[in-house]
């Protein structure tokens, strides 16, 4: 190994007039680094802030979170000729494909009238896609942005939150398509449409919480990004995106139906359908559905936030 030479620092004036490094015997001599740090009020770099402080830091970065999500959204289609029109065209094409396969070929409507089934299907697809893409981008929120994490200082939760926010804005574009489909099949705007706002807010909280959980997992195990699509697809088929859970499980024990209906994706989908579609009444909703929706949102968000914060100082390694 190399010999470590320590040049005794001398005071001298450099050519531009500034004073060079000086080490005149100071009263600090003989202190350990930790004591020296304590004496001048220095803090450990990269230490995890307290939960309250973390929330405050995140709040002070809210403009960044919003700007980052909007930038990601815009950058997505910036090279396309039709540009931002794709924000609406993509969900529209998605809806058309699902209608073609499940509405025309498989006839999965099972007793629902055409006018109910089409908006039922499209709502299901859009609402589930919101959760699905939030989770998918959440998995890569840290592991896919290591450059950012290693270059700049900000509460890391800004990343998963920002990605969920991007998906929320994406969904708002999809909602335009959804409104057109609903009106096209005879469900006209009414008071119940106001329920869309709380449903979206709750689902956004739930998605963000979930995104933060998978962001921490994905930061440690990037392999999760490969596994996630399969888990999400299974979840989609179990949530009744293309069929009504209660009709599908007729004759089975009621608890199975309830378990499937209380799964958060199904809850938010059903609430959105209930708000939007005239022919989809409250008889399709499980009991205490709003309480369940609130529970999932709060539990996922609070749990996800704390879980993510616990590893704050470790993101960016490896």
């Amino acid at each position: 190994m190399y010999p470590k030479t320590k040049v005794s620092p001398v005071s001298e004036t450099t050519h531009d007039g500034t004073v060079a490094v000086t080490a005149a015997p100071a009263p600090d001599e003989g202190l350990t680094p930790a004591e020296l740090a304590a004496r001048y009020g220095l803090s450990v770099s990269g230490a995890r802030p307290s939960l309250g402080e973390y929330v405050r830091q995140l709040w002070s970065r809210r403009h960044f979170v919003l700007a980052f999500s909007q930038a990601k959204l815009t950058a997505q289609y910036s090279q396309a000729k039709l540009g931002q029109l794709w924000q609406v065209a993509t969900p529209l094409l998605n809806a058309a494909v699902y209608y073609f396969i499940f509405g025309l070929i498989l006839k999965a409507s099972r007793g629902m009238s055409h006018d109910v089934y089409i908006p039922f299907l499209v709502t299901g697809v859009f609402v589930f896609t919101f959760t699905q893409s939030s989770v998918m981008s959440g998995v890569r929120a840290i592991s896919g942005n290591l450059g950012l994490v290693r270059a700049l200082h900000f509460p890391r939760a800004a990343l998963p939150v920002s990605f969920s926010l991007q998906q929320l804005q994406q969904l708002l574009f999809s909602m335009i398509v959804l409104f057109v489909v609903a009106i096209g099949f005879g469900s006209y705007p009414g008071v119940s449409w106001l329920l869309i706002v709380p449903v979206l807010a709750l689902q956004f909280l739930f998605n963000t919480g979930l995104a933060m959980i998978v962001a921490r997992l994905g930061a440690k195990t990037p392999d999760l990004a490969q596994l996630m699509p399969f888990l999400l697809r299974t979840w989609m088929y179990a949530s009744g995106v293309m069929f009504s859970i209660s009709t599908m499980l007729q004759g089975r024990p009621e608890w199975i139906t309830r378990v499937l209906q209380f799964n958060p994706a199904a809850v938010y989908m059903d609430l959105m359908r209930f708000a939007l579609i005239d022919g989809y009444g409250s008889s399709n909703l499980p009991p205490h559905v709003w309480a369940v929706a609130l529970f999932w949102a709060v539990a996922a968000f609070a749990g996800g936030f704390v879980y993510f914060w616990k590893a704050e100082e470790r993101y960016g390694r490896g």
């Binding site: 620092p9 005149a24 740090a37 450990v44 403009h63 930038a71 700049l152 490896g318």
Partner: protein, 263 residues
């Protein structure tokens, strides 16, 4: 004269960064055997145990130093000697394996490259980069024109409203530096940022670094250009294989370093 200066300096010698026996270890997945085969990966999972199959790279080994307010410190050493890693650790961006870094305020790395998006216009990137560095919207609005003027992007037409992917690499580098240098920092760290742009811009950025240094408590500069180290720094840390080989006034350390590199 010199002694008087030194005496004056001693009184407000406030440490801004203290590194105490700092070790940084990178962990690389699946590089242990040098083979990324599926069977190797499978046996890795099956064997379990303490991080088997993860190769460790010990990038910084027991570095200790104290940096004071008003110092400009150069970091030199051959490629892969741990300079950039050390900077990131000081900034609190890389967790330390052992040892600690104490800092006064939040040290920041000069560089917003990672936050910028090539598909967005220069204009939006200025705002995004500023926000990413923790500036408020008002601060950015206030400094926006300064950033654009400094970068000189608009000298050859209205380029700031074009997506960044249409910029030449030199133009993009200039804009990145301008955004990064727009913020005031307590402890500022610069990683080879001076090597960007044409000669005219390099001069301008060196000047800006000197300005920043006046405003900032302490400046760290990583560079392979001994001249720019000599021009801007008064103290130099020489890292080699992750160890601090020498720490002292610029001239003395650079003389030894040049001897070592055979210049």
């Amino acid at each position: 004269m010199a002694e008087q200066n030194a005496g004056e300096h001693t009184r407000d010698r406030r440490p801004t960064v203290i590194a105490d026996d700092l070790h940084i270890v990178y962990r690389v997945n699946g590089a242990k055997t040098g083979k990324g085969s599926a069977t190797a990966a499978l046996s890795r999972i099956l064997k379990r145990g303490e991080e088997r199959g993860v190769r460790k790279v010990h990038a910084v080994r027991g570095v200790s130093f104290v940096a004071y307010r008003g110092e400009a410190i150069g970091l030199i050493g051959s490629n892969g000697s741990g300079k950039s890693t050390l900077l990131r650790a000081i900034a609190g961006l890389l967790p330390a394996e052992k040892g600690k870094v104490f800092t006064d305020g939040q040290p920041s790395l000069l560089g917003v490259n990672a936050a910028l998006m090539n598909d967005l216009t220069g204009e939006r990137n200025v705002i995004l980069g500023g926000l990413a560095m923790g500036m408020s919207r008002e601060q950015i609005k206030e400094r926006y024109q300064g950033i654009v003027d400094f970068s000189g992007i608009n000298e050859k037409g209205d380029f700031i409203t074009l997506p960044m992917r249409t910029y030449s690499s030199g133009m993009a580098a200039r804009l990145r530096f301008s955004i990064a240098a727009a913020k005031d920092h307590d402890v500022l760290m610069i990683d080879e940022a001076l090597a960007t742009g044409d000669r005219k811009f390099q001069k301008r950025s060196e000047e800006r670094i000197r300005e920043l240094r006046k405003e900032a408590g302490t400046v760290f500069l990583v560079s392979h250009n001994n001249k720019s180290i000599r021009d801007t720094c008064d103290r130099v840390l020489w890292l080699e294989r992750g160890e601090l080989r020498m720490d002292g006034p610029t001239d003395e350390v650079l003389k030894e370093y040049e001897k070592f590199t055979g210049k």
